[in-house]
Symmetry: C3
Subunit: 200 residues, 3 copies
């Protein structure tokens, strides 16, 4: 099992937990919690595969991407009273997932011969669309569009990967560097409460 | 015309009517009522075909799935004052549609070689995503994620079909049995007001 | 560069500006304004290409459809204080975009051999789905389903194109006529405040 695959599974668990938590907070029943967990975890990659025409999407070809969210969401549903304690570690796992998802998405788009902006866009989407679906299903304005620098980290990491691959760096150097840049930016932004400017 | 096709059309009519009613209640104009009727009726199957990569989707290959919702939604728009009387029968037709859509979705996914969880998921999605789109377009938290046992009936029916087909039962036995299980569960849950547990 | 392509780019600019303005009004940060501008401009055509199975969609094959919205949205973000003055011209550009998008969508669906209702539907969707996504991401009931005759102009134009092509009119006659019909209907409806009936 490659490191990237392991990180991908960690990200899937973290995203599923964040989705399931949103469901529990909105007093959804077990099915709603499953749906939010699953959609948050696999929504971004599924939309990417739809747009690249790589069908059926990754989660229908390797069902671990379905079973993990169901298991995690069930666990969150049962144990959520003790979960506040794990919110901080969850943020770190979430950052790992974000970096991994962006790098996988951008890398796949490059392999599918999209242009540079398209590749960055596919990476950002892989990392963020799941959370957008979660917020739409919870009837909220997507968080990412309002408050955090979350997306900038993804854009930076995606653009870095496009550049490194243009420079012909081998995958086993370019992928971890780009993923690390997203993860570090994300953790710094959490720590220092960075945010993007609003129009005024 | 096969029985399954007939039930499919009945379900399409019932789902279109429920979508159109939601539009009328929210004071949408005729176009909005058409959109909600159509999206509710064909949204689930269209999303399934997108994900399975079977494109263009069923509704663009057999236009009866477009004409029926337009006709039904127009009728609801014109006659909705007299419609409260038909809400009860509509619930029964809706249950028939649910069972049929789940079975068609799960069966198609099996034929497309997804794994067992993927097949159940495609069935549940075929039966429920149209209603989710209806609620998103009406700016509401999807009903299915909050209040009803609606989805459990779908999961049960989809899982039953996966199992019966694993046991090599012929289609003309497994499909009706699984559809009937969904329909009966759904009608019982309406009758006895069953609901899933919430996290607490 | 053909006239249709030029009109298409004008429409892309107008739709991106309308999406970006919606983001600025809801106090989104720069990323949110980009997303709304991009989704409004390319959402309809992308959904059309997904449903027709023509993947990757147009905007991943010709990146000008990505760069333009990013540039326009950035400009709106920076200069939006002076933008009220340009709202009226924007409405006219928006009408041009609407007509062009509908005609491109319907024409492409006909080329992909859908039936007549499917072709009209693909045209209407190409012209309107971007705005629907914009409203969903802004957590509002899609405007098009509530207040305006916007969609009727699209339906008329799409149906006209289907008819003209049935009559074997050459593209360089049928496409501009259908586009012009949408644009004129749209401008008249703005001018005279037309609206569709509501159910009552």
């Amino acid at each position: 099992m490659s490191l990237l695959y392991l990180l991908d599974l960690i990200g899937t668990v973290a995203f599923a937990a964040s989705g399931a938590l949103a469901g529990v907070r909105r007093e959804m029943d077990l099915f709603g919690v499953w749906v939010l967990g699953m959609v948050t975890a696999i929504g971004g990659g599924t939309l990417r595969d739809l747009l690249l025409g790589d069908l059926p999407p990754f989660c229908l070809r390797n069902e671990i991407y379905l079973w993990l969210p169901v298991a995690v969401a069930s666990l969150v549903f049962i144990t959520h009273r003790r979960l506040p304690k794990i919110e901080r570690p969850l943020l770190y796992l979430d950052a790992i997932g974000l970096g991994t998802f962006v790098v996988i998405g951008t890398g796949k788009a490059i392999a599918f011969q999209t242009g540079p902006l398209g590749a960055v866009l596919m990476g950002v989407m892989t990392g963020t669309a799941g959370g957008v679906f979660r917020d739409i299903l919870s009837n909220e304005v997507p968080l990412i569009m309002r408050r955090e620098i979350y997306a900038s980290a993804c854009i930076f990491g995606g653009a870095l990967l496009v550049m490194l691959q243009k420079l012909q760096l081998p995958d086993n150097l370019s992928l971890p560097s780009a993923a690390a840049s997203v993860i570090i930016l994300r953790l710094l932004s959490i720590n220092y409460n960075w945010s993007l400017p609003k129009a005024n």
